[in-house]
């Protein structure tokens, strides 16, 4: 079925008004030989009952969803308060269009304004936009902005930025324009970065916490960038920002990243939520939508899309980006989430992540054969060197109903004994114990 509501009689009246005898006459401009005689043979139609059965069965084939997750690597299993779904699922938000007619879109616009405000505060920046597709494309757009701003081409990636983010950078830019500075003991080494920056780097990009979960020395990295006239781009986890000194306050020009962890389900890696924050002087070069506060003719406060002349629908080939549709509803979810958690809750979640991940790390290092791969401080995620291939540890988890982490061997063969483990506020002590049991069992099977 097609959700159409049309009687034969109505159809007849319409054809009369149009002035044709048959619908087919309306297709006169379409060459006969490209008009299909029969529609493509896709499956269906399926009723709701059949759909629930089919897709319900498929959903149950995702065993990963039933396991207790210690997986991170950019997408995390965090607490989503019940009210987030209740509010964000309201069709007034879900089925609303982009707020180009602000008089009938104050709900959407106000929420975006609140999102921008909280992201700016969290990152320590002056301004934040209404969202990007994901952390990886947000990082790319930041690099492109830096190139436009400095007139330089090269992008220096300092240390362990998520391999998928680097991959997306390499797709958008030419390979010769991306220099990855290898990590030293898991961290970006400021000296190495300084050497790599030279005089033709537009920006230095680093991730905080980095892909290994370790905390970088932001201040040193900002200095390394600025010393060479390049922009400093910090790719940050929003939950970590609730606890850490925000890079926007210690010299980062742009702070971007992945905000799925704020009120959004993992959903097999999409839809995600990119965010983009910057200092004031870069405002006119920002990609994406921006919402501003203003007043109507009666002096009532209202919100509107602003600085639209940056965007594709007006600036066209000279636009700051080509982005049109963004991740609006996910930004709304994040806004509600941050509103519910508030000043205290945001920090509590961050602290629980620190305590639980460190507890798990201590348990692991007490199991024969397991050790932390790096010594530097970490926030919510850490890398374990395992006595067996990390994929064996992952397999062992099935029995305990646990996904013990991510086998880093999938990224590089030399990492095959490394397991990336994330522990969020959702993981209770018992679950962490089961996780430890998994490690023990896998290690004993040597």
């Amino acid at each position: 079925m097609s959700f159409v509501g049309l009687t034969r009689d109505e159809e007849q009246r319409m054809l009369v008004e149009i002035g044709v005898g048959r619908f087919e006459e309306l297709l006169a401009a379409v060459p006969k030989d490209v008009l299909l005689e029969h529609p493509p043979l896709i499956p269906g139609p399926l009723s709701e009952i059949e759909l629930r059965r089919l897709l319900g069965n498929w959903s149950r084939e995702n065993h990963a969803a039933e396991m207790v997750s210690f997986q991170g690597g950019g997408v995390y299993d965090h607490w989503i308060p019940a009210a987030v779904d209740t509010l964000a699922n309201r069709s007034e938000f879900v089925t609303a269009y982009t707020p180009y007619q602000p008089e009938v879109a104050q709900g959407t616009l106000t929420a975006i304004f609140e999102f921008q405000s909280m992201m700016a505060e969290l990152t320590g920046c002056d301004v934040a936009n209404a969202s990007m597709y994901d952390g990886a494309t947000a990082t790319v757009e930041a690099a492109l902005l830096a190139r436009r701003q400095t007139g330089r081409k090269r992008v220096v990636v300092a240390g362990m930025v998520h391999p998928h983010t680097v991959a997306v950078l390499r797709t958008y830019l030419d390979a010769a324009e991306v220099t990855v500075v290898k990590d030293a003991a898991g961290l970006a080494a400021a000296a190495g970065v300084q050497a790599a920056v030279g005089s033709d780097a537009a920006c230095v990009v680093y991730q905080q916490p980095n892909f290994f979960g370790l905390l970088e020395d932001s201040v040193a990295l900002h200095a390394a960038a600025h010393g060479a006239g390049a922009l400093a781009i910090a790719v940050c986890d929003p939950i970590a920002l609730a606890l850490l000194e925000p890079p926007g306050r210690t010299g980062a020009d742009l702070v971007v990243g992945e905000a799925q962890c704020l009120g959004n389900p993992m959903s097999f890696g999409g839809p995600l939520l990119g965010y983009f924050a910057a200092k004031q002087s870069l405002l006119r070069g920002l990609p994406g939508r921006l919402v501003a506060e203003t007043v109507d003719r009666q002096g009532r406060r209202g919100f509107v899309l602003t600085l639209q002349t940056r965007e594709q629908h007006i600036r066209r080939e000279k636009a700051t980006s080509n982005i049109c549709t963004n991740q609006g509803l996910m930004a709304l979810r994040a806004t509600i989430h941050m509103g519910l958690l508030g000043r205290l809750g945001m920090r509590e979640v961050a602290e629980l992540c620190v305590q639980k991940s460190h507890h798990a790390a201590r348990l692991a290092t007490g199991i024969p054969g397991y050790a932390l791969a790096f010594e530097a401080p970490f926030f919510r995620e850490f890398v374990l060197r395992c006595p067996v291939e990390a994929r064996r540890v992952v397999e062992a988890g099935v029995e305990f109903g646990v996904s013990p982490g991510i086998n880093l061997g999938r990224f590089r063969p030399e990492w095959q004994d490394l397991l990336l483990v994330a522990v969020t506020e959702l993981r209770e002590a018992q679950e962490i114990d089961r996780w430890a049991e998994t490690l023990r069992k896998a290690g004993a099977a040597r």
Binding site: R284, Q308, T309, I314, R315
Partner: protein, 129 residues
């Protein structure tokens, strides 16, 4: 309607006033009417070299943006600093307080080649037809 006769005009709706060897430029009232409320003017630095009829900057309104074209070639002596805080000056007084740049012309003859106010008015009428 009548456009000021103390300046000369380009087809792209800029004006140029030659006084004591210095050329002041801006956009015409017709341009500001078409654009609507000006919100931002992007200008070259002082010392920059302009080429006649080439784009040198951008003027932004709420929902439109237009290139600015140099009426004459020369060197930028001064930008109207007031526009940064008050771009509305361009709408309020396009031929006066809303001026955009002061230029030292490299070829004084170029100014005379621009349209007179009478020719400009005809040009505007043709655009409207």
């Amino acid at each position: 309607m009548g456009y000021p006769d103390d300046v000369r005009y380009t087809a792209e709706h800029e004006w140029a006033r030659l006084e004591k060897g210095i050329v002041t430029i801006g956009v015409t009232s017709y341009a500001t009417e078409q654009l609507g409320d000006v919100v931002f003017v992007e200008l070259p630095e002082t010392g920059a070299r302009l080429e006649a009829l080439k784009a040198f900057g951008v003027i932004e309104a709420v929902k439109t943006v237009s290139d600015l074209f140099a009426p004459v070639s020369g060197e930028v002596l001064e930008r109207n600093g007031a526009l940064a805080d008050n771009p509305a000056l361009v709408n309020q007084d396009p031929f006066g307080e809303g001026w955009i740049l002061r230029i030292r012309p490299s070829d004084p003859a170029e100014h005379a080649k621009l349209m007179s106010n009478v020719d400009y008015e005809k040009h505007v009428e043709e655009q409207h037809a």
